[in-house]
Symmetry: C2
Subunit: 154 residues, 2 copies
């Protein structure tokens, strides 16, 4: 949990430092993103925040996410088979798991990719700014569902 509040802090500080104003909407978006365990889309955040900010606009969410990504404070994971961009408040290289059935995105703990990052940096010649390490497949829950539906057909 310490990690998460650090992330929030970094986001707010980053926005402020680059001359952007800390409006209630921006703070709320950062909070929601820093605290979320799954990796929400712009629309996910919008829906969640609309409760507290009935006038919150989807455009504001997009604009804020855009600023955060440009500042390197948040990374855009790309779509998860659902055609929507998922965002990740954790910019440290790590592995994401995408379920192609339920479109959920989660982190994989316990696999260190720092050595990989070093090797890529050395061999590529690129000035690396981030990474998206995504594995696709069926999550355990959806595997069970598929098995159940096959059993049903038989």
């Amino acid at each position: 949990m310490i990690r998460r509040s650090e992330r929030l802090r970094a986001m707010l500080e980053g926005l402020r430092a680059s001359g952007l104003r800390l409006t209630p909407q921006r703070v709320a978006i950062c909070e929601a993103l820093a605290m979320s365990r799954n990796h929400p889309t712009a629309y996910d955040l919008y829906r969640r925040l609309r409760r507290r900010f009935p006038t919150m606009s989807l455009a504001t969410v997009y604009k804020t996410l855009d600023a955060l990504v440009r500042l390197g404070l948040v990374s855009a994971l790309g779509d998860a088979g659902d055609g929507m961009v998922h965002y990740d408040g954790d910019t440290e290289p790590h592995i994401n798991l995408v379920c192609l059935s339920c479109h959920r995105v989660q982190d994989l703990e316990g696999v260190d990719v720092r050595a990989l990052h070093q090797r890529v940096a050395a061999r590529s010649g690129y000035a690396l700014q981030g990474a998206r390490l995504v594995y696709y497949g069926l999550c355990p829950d959806c595997q069970r569902k598929v098995e159940a539906s096959i059993a049903e057909e038989a």
Copy 2:
């Protein structure tokens, strides 16, 4: 080069085996994708193929790519900062490099990710179907351009 013609073969065979017809358009799309070094978008392929097939439709390109992805013969890399989906004829897990300035996508040779794949499969509990291992940054060419433009300002 052997690899590339094998890929083409696998794509055509895969389409045929699943009952899809080998139309000239589909063959040409597979060829262009299997042979391409960079990772083209649907529009890239469309533009390239329109020379040989003046009536080629962008919709046909999308439909064919969709079929190839569904059959697991091609993988969709997601966007490269340009908002368009890039496709990769190589479905073996490997590392892609995306340049955030010129939006080019290339493979990184010489970094083996099979051990990583094994570890992810074991720890995640997912039935893995594929991976997208993408590092973002500035390619050597664009780094030079940035340096040049900074020098110019001074």
